[in-house]
């Protein structure tokens, strides 16, 4: 039954209080122990389509009469268009339309970051559209740009009010401390670089707009496009059948969609607007850089007495302030905490969410700080974390927390320290580091799914959900198969189109499985109930004695009838089961946890750093597909290694222009950079969370990598690396600083 509640809705650590229509979630969770389909490894069901190139991504869609757009972008970090004459471009071969600044709101004459769209062309081919851009006669007046986040704080150039969090009294906390450490940590701007660039095709069909788009949120695009273009929601259809990666950058419609819609309107033809790789590396979002000035105090026994942090996030011209302070507030028990966060507005391209935004950056700072404090107190880092274990904060209990179990499983990897250190030689120094993780990932309502059960005994999950490469479609098929007592091969899924199924949640914040999964299970249970109703009448049994198992309807007294025989009574008709995602447990914090142990080698002559082994243990509730989850885990760790060692968007400090626009300049990890990875999930259902007890495994694995690696470096070389990425230059600087420091200490002793 539908119920209206006032609830806290969370996506990627962003909370809002909303009225929500939710439905009760009357199903009990599945019993502990092995199930038939859920919890067993399942290769992704659309794997062959993707692997053989049959899958059509947005990039592959070619509509009849489709035109291609190219976008004139500001070459300057801040400028004003002095003159723009598009008449020659208008006449160029193949050109069908040119949009000048102001033609759609996304095209501006006063660009405020490099890459901001100014004008756009649609032509028969992409090459013609690109060529026509060069025919636009444009003059910019370059204006002074603000690109330094610390300067932005001084000038109060902020996108949002500074955000503070206070608990207890930090002054008193520091007064009670036996040891205090203080340090500044810096994290770089990281680029998403999904293999499929941001793109959409807009096709007007009468007064309906069809948007084919590479997106993480089909239903959100429908809402955003209808709002911005003033269309009724049901006049916008959004399609994303196959999607080539997002990592947080594809939650919204983006300028390119509205440019394509404008050009399609102007020409009466479908228009594709696809970013090139260079455009992708300029204007498709980024993980914003941070500066974290942190301080921590503890008693001699390691008990934290105070934590304090000032965080500056370099958000760019637009964006939102993800919580870099979150790990400091949530990871450990500490009575006295003060954090202050600035979200600076700069003449740089807007940030977008990137796999655990804020927390990934903040975990690096907080975990390094804790390690430095532990070192000062001569306490083992794992022991330090156990002593400060947060049982709950804000007097809000956790729906489930098994971080202690993660620490326990991490022990055997942590115990390799001596052996790893012993493998050091003259140039390569080896060490082991450890870090923990807290993050959201509990999902939430609303989310809906249907199950269509045909007279052939095959079921289809129907929902307007996207699969961005996480395997969410396969997980939904597993959940439905489990509930219907069918083998996985008897369940299809129809998704990827707003015209096809009901509202589905965003695939961000590790939310697809915890948001959609319970709705799919509820829909399957509804379909199963209808089957049992029919069977009870047909075979003259009581409903409560019947259940679905192994493709049969079975009765408690031993009767068994093939499902096809029962649903065959429908002839060509189908059953429709409907399901909704129930609310999250009231007053509880729904969080994911984990710990990782990294083994790192440092070449002290060249500064080269190699991550050689990562053992990761995470707690994300019940695991639906251990195979898919391990893929996401490994992928998260590998992205974390890129974030730690090689990836950095570089800006020219004079002009604010981006220097790393190509994949030879912006260094993504390759297969040759991958360490040995041990990935484990505790797989303990969260008893308070939905009918599944599942949280999302997508983001947690990338969180601890950088801090664990930094500690391993400190342990092996004595060098403090406090800035990401740990390039050779940074490593050599830290080694030299450590050398000078130890020389000074030796001198002191001699004196």
């Amino acid at each position: 039954m539908a119920r209206l509640i006032r609830t806290e809705k969370e996506v990627e650590g962003r909370f809002e209080d909303v009225w929500l229509v939710v439905e009760e979630d009357p199903l009990d969770q599945w019993p502990d122990g092995a199930l038939d389909v859920v919890g067993r490894p399942a290769p992704r069901q659309d794997g062959a389509q993707r692997a053989t190139g049959r899958a059509l991504y947005t990039a592959d869609i070619q509509l009849p009469g489709m035109l291609h757009a190219a976008v004139l972008r500001s070459p300057h970090a801040r400028a004003r268009v002095k003159k723009l004459d598009a008449s020659r471009a208008q006449e160029a071969p193949g050109v069908r339309a040119v949009l000048e600044p102001g033609a759609v709101p996304e095209l501006v004459s006063d660009p405020n970051y490099q890459g901001q769209p100014v004008a756009a062309v649609a032509a028969d081919t992409f090459a013609q559209a690109r060529a026509a851009l060069a025919q636009i006669d444009v003059e910019f007046e370059e204006l002074e740009a603000l690109i330094d986040p610390e300067e932005a704080v001084r000038r109060k150039s902020l996108l949002t009010e500074p955000r503070t969090h206070d608990r207890g009294d930090v002054a008193r906390g520091f007064a009670e401390a036996d040891a205090i450490v203080e340090a500044t940590y810096r994290t770089q701007t990281v680029l998403h670089n999904s293999m499929e660039t941001h793109q959409s095709i807009c096709d007007w069909d009468g007064d309906q707009l069809v948007v084919y788009i590479s997106t993480q949120f089909i239903w959100g695009i429908r809402d955003e496009v209808s709002q911005k273009l003033g269309l009724p929601q049901d006049k916008v259809r959004v399609v994303c059948e196959y999607m080539g990666g997002g990592f947080g950058a594809k939650n919204g419609a983006g300028d390119y969609t509205f440019i394509a819609a404008g050009l399609a309107k102007r020409t009466g033809r479908p228009v594709k607007c696809a970013l090139t790789r260079r455009e992708e590396n300029i204007d498709s979002g980024n993980r914003n850089a941070t500066i974290q000035k942190l301080r921590a105090g503890a008693r001699a026994d390691g008990t934290l007495t105070a934590l304090e942090g000032e965080f500056i996030a370099a958000l760019g011209w637009n964006g939102w302030l993800a919580s870099t302070a979150g790990p400091m507030q949530m990871l450990y028990a500490c009575d006295n905490v003060h954090t202050l966060e600035y979200g600076t507005k700069l003449n740089t391209p807007p940030m977008k969410a990137f796999r655990a935004p804020g927390f990934t950056e903040g975990t690096f700072g907080m975990e390094c700080l804790l390690d430095e404090l532990a070192a000062k107190l001569e306490i083992d880092p794992l022991e330090m974390r156990r002593r400060n274990y947060a049982h709950s904060t804000d007097e809000r209990p956790y729906s489930s927390k098994n971080l202690m179990g993660c620490y326990q499983r991490a022990e055997k990897h942590w115990a390799r320290r001596d052996e790893v250190r012993a493998r050091s030689d003259e140039t390569w120094k080896r060490g082991v580091g450890l870090a923990s993780q807290v993050w959201y990932g509990g999902g939430g309502p609303p989310s809906y799914a249907w199950i269509r059960l045909g007279s052939d005994g095959r079921a289809t999950v129907v929902t307007a959900m996207q699969d961005i490469g996480t395997g969410s479609k396969t997980a939904m098929q597993q959940i439905a198969a489990e509930e219907l007592g069918l083998p996985l091969g008897s369940v299809e899924i129809s998704a990827g189109d707003s015209a096809r199924g009901p509202y589905a949640s965003i695939s961000a914040g590790s939310s697809t499985i915890p948001s959609m999964g319970p709705a799919v299970r509820a829909a399957a249970a509804d379909a199963a109930r209808q089957v049992i109703e029919i069977a009870a009448q047909r075979y003259d049994k009581e409903e409560r004695t019947l259940s679905l198992k192994g493709g049969n309807v079975v009765s408690a007294d031993g009767g068994s009838w093939p499902l096809e025989e029962v649903v065959g009574l429908l002839e060509d008709a189908q059953l429709l089961g409907k399901g909704a995602r129930g609310p999250n447990p009231t007053g509880m914090q729904v969080l994911t946890f984990g710990a990782q142990v990294a083994e790192v080698a440092v070449d002290i002559e060249t500064g080269e750093v190699r991550v050689e082994r990562v053992a990761a243990i995470h707690d994300v509730g019940r695991v639906i597909n251990p195979l898919g989850a391990s893929s996401q885990g490994e992928g998260g760790i590998i992205q974390g290694i890129g974030h730690t060692l090689s990836e950095e968007r570089l800006l020219d400090p004079e002009t604010g222009r981006i220097l790393t626009q190509t994949l030879d300049a912006y260094k993504l990890p390759t297969i040759a950079d991958v360490p040995e990875i041990v990935f484990e999930l505790l797989d303990v259902p969260d008893r308070h969370l939905t009918n599944l007890g599942s949280k999302g495994p997508g983001e947690p694995p990338d969180l601890p990598v950088a801090a664990a690696s930094a500690y391993a470096i400190r342990e092996s070389t004595g060098a403090d690396v406090r800035s990401l990425p740990i390039t050779r230059e940074e490593m050599l600087r830290a080694l030299e600083e450590a050398g000078t420091r130890s020389q000074r200490e030796r001198d002191k002793v001699t004196a």
Binding site: P43, R44, G47, A48, R50, A51, T52, G53, R54, A55, L56, Y57, A59, D60, Q62, T125, A127, H192, N193, S194, M195, E196, T197, Y242, M243, G244, G245, F247, T276, R277, I468, G469, T470, G471, L627, G628, S630, S631, Q632, E634, G635, G636, I637, I638, Q639, T662, L663, D664, L668, P669, T670, I671, A672, V674, I677
Partner: protein, 146 residues
């Protein structure tokens, strides 16, 4: 200009402007969209095809230069055991780079059916995967005949 290409065992006569890449011709003129374009400047490997059995970046290969060669794309490798191996080991997530990975891997196992991990890493280092499926790509290639 008129060119004749030999692709996956078939002959195609095409009118192609000089300067167009093999990747564009495959995707736009022939509808062979299994070959992906992800960077269009030879940095990522998503566009990998085989030219006379050699993995080749089709986005920076001009179509008219490969007239005399035998071209193999993912569409010509659909029955290759590597496809099943990639699916079985879950060596793909979003899948956008996967056809290129399989084309590179197919060339590797053709010349070396039992490559070592080191040889796999060497042969596959030019194929980027942002989802980070690398450990499972290694496993798929290691076990492709299973």
């Amino acid at each position: 200009m008129n060119i004749e290409l030999q692709i996956n065992g078939g002959k195609y006569e095409l009118e192609v402007e000089v300067g167009r890449s093999l990747a564009e011709v495959l995707r736009e003129d022939l509808g062979l969209t299994g070959t992906k374009i992800a960077c269009f400047e030879g940095h990522c490997g998503a566009c990998t095809g085989q030219v006379d059995g050699v993995p080749t970046l089709s986005c920076i290969t001009l179509a008219h230069t490969v007239e005399a060669s035998e071209i193999t794309t993912i569409e010509g490798l659909r029955e290759h055991p590597l496809v099943g191996a990639f699916v079985r080991t879950d060596a793909l997530q979003c899948g956008f780079c996967t056809p290129g990975q399989i084309v590179s891997a197919a060339a590797l196992v053709e010349s070396n059916p039992h490559p070592s991990d080191e040889q796999i890493r060497h042969a596959m280092a030019g194929n980027l995967c942002r989802c980070g499926t690398y450990p499972k790509i290694e496993e798929a290639i290691r076990t492709w005949q299973d």
